[in-house]
């Protein structure tokens, strides 16, 4: 079947299998491999992307259900070839080690900051509850998100 969507502002039109997930399409059809395949059961959050600004786990999202909609992946969080402010904060705070969870973390955090520009620490932890990290212990990630919220508020 035919699928049309925009990913990070770029329009795509592709033939896909009707049962393809958005994760399959992003990684294997379009070639945006920043979005990671972790558990494929919606538990780990590594495949989180935004659909019309709302965070979803793309491994449980049928691609056909997002026909005509706007998808944002980790590749769309910064200017081409450079880091966005949230990504730079993750680097400064050491919010990434192995890096596998990082794309999903960044997308979930970005969704939070758009919805709630001044979150409390508890709200950050709640927003990231669906993103598992086995390396950092979360504190540095939470600090990076809180600092980004502050710096956006004063920018």
């Amino acid at each position: 079947m035919r699928l049309e969507l925009t990913a990070n502002g770029d329009p795509y039109r592709r033939e896909i299998e009707p049962d393809a997930t958005l994760l399959d399409v992003l990684r294997d059809v379009i070639g945006l491999t920043g979005t990671k395949w972790g558990c494929k059961t919606g538990d780990c959050g590594a495949c989180t992307v935004l659909v019309d600004g709302q965070p979803v786990v793309s491994c449980l999202q049928l691609a056909c259900q997002v026909d005509g909609r706007a998808v944002t992946t980790v590749e769309g969080l910064g200017p081409d070839g450079d880091l966005g402010d949230l990504q730079a904060a993750f680097v400064r705070y050491g919010g990434a080690q192995c890096g596998f969870c990082t794309p999903g973390m960044l997308v979930s955090a970005e969704a939070l900051l758009r919805h709630n520009p001044a979150p409390t620490e508890a709200e950050v932890r709640e927003a990231l509850a669906g993103n598992l990290c086995r390396c950092t212990g979360y504190n540095k990630i939470v600090d990076a998100v809180l600092e980004t919220a502050q710096s956006r508020a004063t920018a």
């Binding site: 049962d19 709302q54 965070p55 979803v56 509850a129 669906g130």
Partner: protein, 304 residues
């Protein structure tokens, strides 16, 4: 993987479901169905994509009745500020389900029809006197929501029938509700015990009450004899505790990774007491409007 059918409308979806009874599975948010089909917990030749049926999504208020379309996302309930004041149990159940991502995708109808005994929404909808609206080949029918659940993973929907929505009663004033749960983790966990309570009050007398339990029986359970313990007077610590004891006696929990049957029974009694207390505080205007309860219902003075 099964084939996908995208219906042209609700009638078409029902006709297709009926023509492929036993071989077709409706899919909405996909957060349960795609996992089930992947791991072999469910098998179907067809998935019927309900997402184009936009008319089944959203909330509609009509006096004391709130109609919740089956395709309404859990996140929509969670973020509804008016609902946090008028039917807080629904918001408190919605906000602890899965993660933000799962709540953004998952639908109320899916949470009900997947019929997981530990599902969050059923107890909250039951204490708000939920009525199910189903559409099938023979037309529409309505029934008490409690009758939807036949057992773990099984509903009483007939071949070809789809849940269109659920109607709940949201009393306009002097009423309160609450949903609490016990889990090992605050997020991304299934309820070990889920409890919803609602009370209606005239002056200082409880005139009606409802208690519903999740995760402690094969189906979500309304326990009228527990609710009766607080009706007819002021809600006291003693009457709320008695309701808890009756609820614990009425449930039939299993032992699994989330707790032993004995533990779940004890927790049921405690959560029923706390949920009734919070519902009472709300009904009597002693609770900040729109503020949600702690997930396990421990109030500051109780924790001290």
């Amino acid at each position: 993987m099964p084939e996908l059918y995208v219906p042209k409308g609700l009638d078409d979806a029902v006709a297709f479901m009926a023509a492929h009874a036993g071989a077709a599975l409706p899919i909405a948010g996909g957060t349960d169905v795609l996992i089930d089909t992947r791991v072999g917990r469910a098998s179907a030749e067809w998935l019927v994509d309900l997402s184009p049926l936009g008319a089944l999504a959203g909330l509609e208020r009509d006096g004391e009745t709130l109609h919740i379309g089956a395709l309404t996302r859990i996140r929509t309930l969670e973020l509804d500020r008016e609902l946090a004041r008028s039917a807080p149990a629904l918001v408190e159940a919605a906000r602890v389900l899965g993660s933000v991502q799962i709540r953004t995708m998952a639908t109320v109808g899916g949470n009900l029809c997947h019929a997981t005994p530990s599902a969050e929404m059923p107890p909250a909808l039951l204490v708000h006197e939920g009525e199910a609206d189903a559409v099938g080949p023979e037309g529409t029918r309505s029934f008490a929501l409690a009758e939807l659940f036949a057992g773990p993973g099984r509903t009483t929907l007939r071949p070809g029938e789809l849940l269109a929505g659920v109607r709940v009663r949201v009393p306009s004033a002097s009423a309160g509700s609450c949903y609490l749960r016990q889990t090992v983790r605050w997020s991304m966990d299934l309820a070990g015990v889920g409890v919803a309570a609602a009370v209606e009050v005239e002056g200082t007398t409880v005139t009606a009450a409802r208690v519903a339990l999740g995760a402690v029986a094969p189906v979500p359970l309304l326990v009228p004899e527990a609710a009766d313990a607080v009706v007819g007077g002021e809600l006291t610590d003693e009457s709320a505790a008695e309701a808890g004891v009756r609820a614990a006696a009425a449930c039939s929990p299993i032992s699994d990774a989330r707790g032993t049957a004995e533990y779940r029974r004890d927790v049921t009694a405690v959560l029923v007491r706390r949920a009734l207390r919070i519902a009472w505080l709300r009904a009597t205007g002693s609770w900040p409007a729109g503020a949600l309860a702690p997930i396990n219902g421990v109030l500051p003075e109780e924790a001290a």
